[in-house]
């Protein structure tokens, strides 16, 4: 016993539903490409005193100075998560990069302003004033320095385990300033 052939109207409805799904997918993909092209990847340029989110940490650069042949960035760092962070600049740690011309300075030493102890942990709700210290080359002349900040991305359920994770670093902002002299 064979089932009767569906009516023309029913077949048309089914095909229209299938076609509308395909058309919606195509249109969505097309629109996403247009949106991506409309917003070019320009990094926000921040100034001293403005905060930038680095993922686990919110950083507010306050001053950039020269002290004893070293470049010192004073900043306020705040842990914005709900737990102690032993690596406030992400894992692997990626503190701000100081760029002079085309050269990137080595990783800075980071200490607490309060007692000059190394920054080991950031506790929630306890913002810390910190100093990031770069040793400058001997032949360095005062020129504007660009600081590049990167941010970790939070994913509530990662693809591997379905657990909350901080994944990868993406550029977050830049700051360009001429170092002043320490007060």
């Amino acid at each position: 016993m064979t089932s009767p052939e569906p009516s023309l109207l029913r077949r048309m409805i089914r095909r229209a539903i299938a076609l509308s799904g395909i058309a919606a997918a195509l249109l969505l993909g097309w629109w996403m490409r247009i949106e991506a092209a409309r917003s070019p990847d320009l990094l926000p340029e921040i100034r001293l005193g403005e905060s930038v989110s680095l993922g686990r940490t919110q950083l507010r650069p306050d001053s950039l100075t020269l002290e004893d042949g070293r470049l010192v960035l004073r900043a306020l760092a705040e842990n914005v998560t709900g737990e102690t962070q032993s690596s406030p600049f992400g894992i692997p740690a990626r503190p701000p990069e100081a760029v002079i011309g085309d050269s990137v300075l080595p990783t800075p030493e980071i200490v607490l302003l309060r007692d000059q102890a190394p920054l080991g942990q950031l506790q929630p709700r306890l913002p810390e004033e910190i100093s990031m210290i770069w040793t400058l080359p001997e032949d360095w002349r005062p020129v504007p320095v660009t600081l590049r900040f990167s941010r970790e991305t939070f994913k509530l359920r990662d693809n591997l385990y379905g657990q909350a994770s901080w994944l990868g670093h993406v550029p977050a902002a830049t700051l360009t300033a001429l170092p002043g002299t320490a007060p």
Partner: protein
């Protein structure tokens, strides 16, 4: 009529799938240590360790061999007695604050003796230890101590210990140990 019934079944299936996806516990919730709640003053017993809170106090600053360490908040110091059960083990501690935030033992107490996070618990031997936390003062009352094996292995025992009922005394001057 058949089309309506098919659509209803499909809708029900989509709703059921969505409900399952939304309520399915993630790895963070599904794979946790087994936490036992311990009342104030009681001895807690996990598979690999036992522990008891003997007292607590606050210090506004820590006096270390490398210098004084101050804080934007306070240093909460808990005095503990802990031991291993069947094998030697190390422990880690977190303070679960009144707001639910989680504070690990502070790395700024490096150099203090009898630190919990550097000691080994031996089976049958009681060790007197301290766990020091750096935190805002309003996270203390209403909080609790979570003792666990380092890295919080899933399905292992952990103790959520209520602190003493009396508020911690404040030591105004830093105390050398």
């Amino acid at each position: 009529m058949n089309l309506v019934r098919t659509m209803a079944i499909l809708l029900f299936a989509v709703a059921a799938l969505g409900a399952m996806m939304l309520t399915n516990p993630g790895r963070d919730r599904a794979f946790q240590p087994m936490v036992a709640r311990i009342a104030a003053g009681d001895q807690g017993q996990a598979r690999l360790f036992s522990a008891r809170i003997d007292g607590w106090h606050l210090e506004p600053a820590l006096s270390l061999p490398s210098g004084e360490r101050t804080s934007e908040g306070v240093f909460l110091v808990l005095d503990l007695t802990a031991a291993g059960t069947t094998e030697s083990t190390t422990l880690a501690a977190d303070w679960i604050g009144a707001s639910g935030r989680r504070y690990a033992t502070t790395a700024r107490a490096e150099g203090l003796p009898r630190r919990l996070d550097t000691a080994w618990m031996q089976p049958g031997l009681d060790s007197e230890l301290t766990a020091t936390f750096e935190l805002p003062e309003d996270e203390i009352m209403g909080g609790a101590l979570l003792l666990h094996l380092p890295r919080m292995p899933a399905l292992e025992g952990a103790l959520l210990m209520a602190p003493p009922q009396t508020p911690p005394a404040i030591r105004l001057a830093p105390v050398s140990r």
